[in-house]
Amino acid sequence: MDSLHDLGGKQGFGGVKYPDLPHHETWEPVVRALSACALRKHLYNMDEFRHAIERMAPRHYVTAAYYERHLTAVATLLVEKGVVTHEELETLAGGAFPLAGPIGPGRLPAAPQSFAIGETVRVKNEYVPGHVRMPAYIRGKTGVVVGISPPYPFPDAAGHGMQAPGEPAYDVRFRARDLWADSCDDAMNHVGVFQSYLEKVGED
């Protein structure tokens, strides 16, 4: 989905707050542990967790700290999986407990095809309403395969709790100028792109 989590190349941001300032929120490690526990017990998978974060209301997402996003995702998934109701959660929390927006349908992978190291490939010009791990800045762009991963669950299915067959992701190298023309620093940009997001480029 084209939501605010898809930040790559967005403009108007400021300086990176570097190096880190010390901060010690005691609830943050607890959220980390609770989320890890639910994940290990297979209450949800990583893609469902990421998609729950992506579905947060845009205003909430951009103002939430990292573990606020995790807290919201865990709560959303517990409600969606029927472990607890939203009302019960708010009673236990003693106040409002904002959740992410509703989930829509996922999708299955494309017909299998394979790509080789060194092959020029194009990212499909797709607009996916559900979970997808293709950042918008490479949509429709052409690059070269430089690496191939072992099979991973297809995120667009896994993120919706569907049976997700595994498929490789390809490390694809793009020239920054091919992504943002002359409005960028010169660089080679690499993105891990799932096989289903790619298409062959015809020989000219």
Partner: protein, 201 residues
């Protein structure tokens, strides 16, 4: 949705406690899990893991080759672990003319069992938005002023492949024992925000 009618959220401490209570009631959260998990994460998933891999790669050519060929196997060989969904560790070697830098624009993925928990700046919206498009500018603002001749390679962690940078060994540390070398390798250098140029003999 009437955003302006939404009541303010309960404090995060109370919402966290609510989740903990629900998981406990349903028998999902074992007694002592939070403490044990946190202790394990703090003790076992530390920057010194990656630092030891880097130092060994600098001093052991066969390991250097194995690490670049199969980072996952090289990490496991040294006794390091991965969560279930981290299935592939790719090691990116810096050279005098190539600089690698890692980001996760869609969330904040990192090889956290190998290089330690991601620093706050890595999770910052500003870093995620800008480093892909303004890599040289952002690195310069962070104190790494690369010559124009250096090729910058940005790696966006969008799939479940995890990346770590193998920095160049600072010339002044030539001949140091591997244990001492491991102490100079920072987390920032394994993400690509530093080149360890500040390390003097």
């Amino acid at each position: 949705m009437a955003d302006n009618a939404t009541p303010p959220a309960a404090p995060p401490e109370q919402r966290t406690a609510a989740i903990e209570m629900v998981l406990r009631r349903h028998g999902i959260l074992p007694d002592g899990f939070v403490g044990e998990f946190t202790e394990h994460a703090d003790d076992a998933w530390v920057t010194s893991n990656g630092a030891r891999m880097v130092a060994r790669a600098w001093t052991d050519p066969a390991f250097h080759t194995r690490m670049l060929t199969d980072g996952t196997a090289a990490a496991r060989e040294m006794g390091f672990e991965f969560p279930e969904h981290h299935r592939h560790l790719v090691v990116l070697e810096n050279t005098p003319d190539i600089h690698n830098v890692i980001v996760c624009t869609l969330c904040s993925c990192t090889a956290y069992t190998i290089i330690g928990a991601a620093p706050d700046w890595y999770k910052d919206l500003d870093y995620r938005a800008r480093v892909v498009r303004e890599s040289r500018t952002v690195l310069r603002e962070m104190g790494l002023d690369l010559p124009a001749s250096t090729e910058i390679r940005v790696w966006d962690t969008t799939a479940d492949t995890r990346y770590m940078v193998l920095p160049l060994q600072p010339p002044a540390t030539e001949g140091w024992p591997v244990e001492k070398l491991a102490t100079i390798v920072t987390q920032d250098s394994m993400i690509g925000a530093s080149r360890l140029d500040e390390v003097k003999g």
